[in-house]
Symmetry: none
Subunit: 211 residues, 4 copies
DNA sequence: TATGAATGAGGGTTCATTCAT
DNA sequence: TATGAATGAACCCTCATTCAT
């Protein structure tokens, strides 16, 4: 019976979480598909399979719900970030990281988050700033730290490691990201992504490999 | 009389065009500042100094007006694209082009066409596709054509010139574009842009300069 | 033809006024019947026979519409106020004024306005204050001025004419106003009003007639 | 066992009553501060420190709760009413009663029952009627009964004692009540109330004192 | 052609009420 | 009995679009 009580509590908490998650999941899809303005609370409620009123039980208003979504996406995407081993040699490290980054920005869902946040950044600067800091800047910093370690170890020769990190990440997007976000091409194939990352790595090392 | 009639027609067309341009100018500012959903026909009418009804004389609906705006922006930005001299050496050519491209994508003063079009691309894929083709893809192709010429002349050594063109353009955005669109940093200074383009050019040539 | 143009202008203005008046009329009825909170813009639109959107063409929001109604009522009721002849003897003057005042506060419409404004005065103090100033205070001041004239002429003997004016007005409401606003009794008959005013006048003069 | 059962019932009733009173106390404050429409069941629940659901255990709906509040206020205010000693002389009796009545109708601190009930009287006529009967009419009747006794004792000379009672009560409000409910002036000071009641009493006796 | 008053559908939000626990 | 999560109807308001002038 004691078990039953705690069981019940757990269930209640689960349900609570599940309802909240249910809403977040529904809202994420709608927001990412239609953007902040294009998404209506009614459609979100329908997607989340709850009533419109229930949305306001969990979130103060549309804006708070959106921010929660972006925060959640930021955390998720921020975790995706590669964990670097400073002792590992550069080439394979960069390739692996580049591929992970490409998956983040060029996958349906991932791309949508970037696009959606970008779109609203002018009217909700904090939201844009936070997403950038938690996902993109964080990645740059981690890669930059790794590069510094490789510079220290004499493997690489780089003046501005922050810039170099950013350069590598941009290189990985070459020919893939823009056509994808502009809907000019579908999400790239694994093969194509590998090839582009390979080329990016070659180019990066050609410029920054210590002689 | 024949003259008079054609004269009149010309005048009418002029007036038509002038009103049309007036609307396009007003709408461009509003759309680029607020996005498709954020812009209201009322505000556009006010910005264009015409009545709301007049908007519908020249454009079927909000969507058609927006498409016309994007088309116009695409033409304008497409023209901005550097005109390459295939006989000119690579370094200065790339630097000049890189700077022009950076100015296009990081243009200060809120209303960014790139952001606005990107934002709506999921819901209006044609609009995204066309803008990409007319501005970004066109630039890539021109740069690619230039690179091919330099490869032919033995100056550069590049396998995939389309990819290389895209790589250079991405490199130019490193550390500048993303912080800018996410409102994490203000529009970059001329000095900073020059430095980044310089570094991009060095990197590009380190990889692709024929030995 | 010139006539036609001005005619047309007049009609437009008339229609404008008529629409505005139409809204005000519909809104007045609904607001006075249901109070500020009880009245819905939908019901007002129905009562005014216009669409909901049209309400917002003429008035910024529900509050502005309500304020316009109260202002209009205040003007109307303020005009009802008796115009006093300082040379006229007190008894008949007071009776006439008393009756006019009673009609104002105990007639459906009049009573409703007072009730409606009273009800909202705590949440919209300015509205309450303005209505009081334009209708009730104005009446008190006019009566007070008249009383002062009669005091000066030796007809009456009053210390505080403002208080006396207020006293007379309150006396006129005795046994009539409160049952009316609390819906305990229907609007009083002319006969009953006359009798109460008569009694009020007698009482007033008994106290303030110069000996 | 029989004792235990009745004991238990008593406890249950006590708890019931205590919860009920808790709700009534919380609701009274909210209703009187914000009016019937302005008050929300959520806010009432918060003020009463019970859950929203509990409100519906004790009261069928918002309307029933409001009616109970008004009933309670009516009883309370009805008790406040002066208890008259028919043998006491008129002047001091009237002054004391007048002051008590003024405190009732001009009670400082927002929430005025009179205003709240008045406001809703058109939509809930029974509520208005009952409050009027239990508080105002009751006071009039008591005062009227007292006056009749003084008429019988030869102290006063009054034709219509009901009207006279109402007249005195109205006189006491002169210059105080209307500015107060319309928020044109703050609640009157004790001093001012005394002066007005004094003047009312003088006037009343000037008219009705037996010669 | 140009207008802007008028519309009504749909937006975000609140809230009285219900119900499973 | 007491709870509070969930509901859905109704709220105020905006806005793309139409139409008589």
């Amino acid at each position: 019976m004691v078990v039953a009580a705690s069981e019940q509590l757990r269930i209640v908490q689960d349900e609570d979480n599940s309802k909240r998650r249910q809403i977040l999941d529904g809202a994420r899809k709608v927001f990412m598909d239609l953007g902040f303005d294009g998404a209506s609370m009614g459609e979100i409620a329908r997607a989340a399979q709850v009533s419109k009123g229930t949305l306001y039980v969990y979130f103060a208003d549309k804006c708070a719900l959106f921010e929660a979504i972006v925060e959640q996406e930021a955390l998720q995407h921020g975790q995706v970030v590669f964990s670097f081993d400073p002792d590992r040699e550069a080439e394979s490290t960069l390739k692996e990281f580049g591929l992970a980054y490409l998956h983040l920005v060029c996958r349906p869902g991932g791309g949508s988050a970037i696009r959606t946040v970008m779109a609203i950044a002018e009217r909700m600067p904090d939201v844009g700033r936070r997403y950038y800091a938690r996902v993109l800047d964080k990645s740059i910093n981690r890669l930059s730290a790794y590069l510094k370690a490789r510079v220290a170890s004499g493997d690489l020769s780089i003046d501005d490691c922050d810039l170099a990190a950013s350069q590598f990440m941009e290189l990985c997007k070459a020919s893939l990201f823009l056509p994808f976000v502009f809907q000019a091409e579908p999400a790239p194939s694994e093969q194509r992504m590998s090839a582009v990352v390979e080329s990016a790595t070659r180019m990066f090392l050609a410029a920054y490999k210590a002689r």
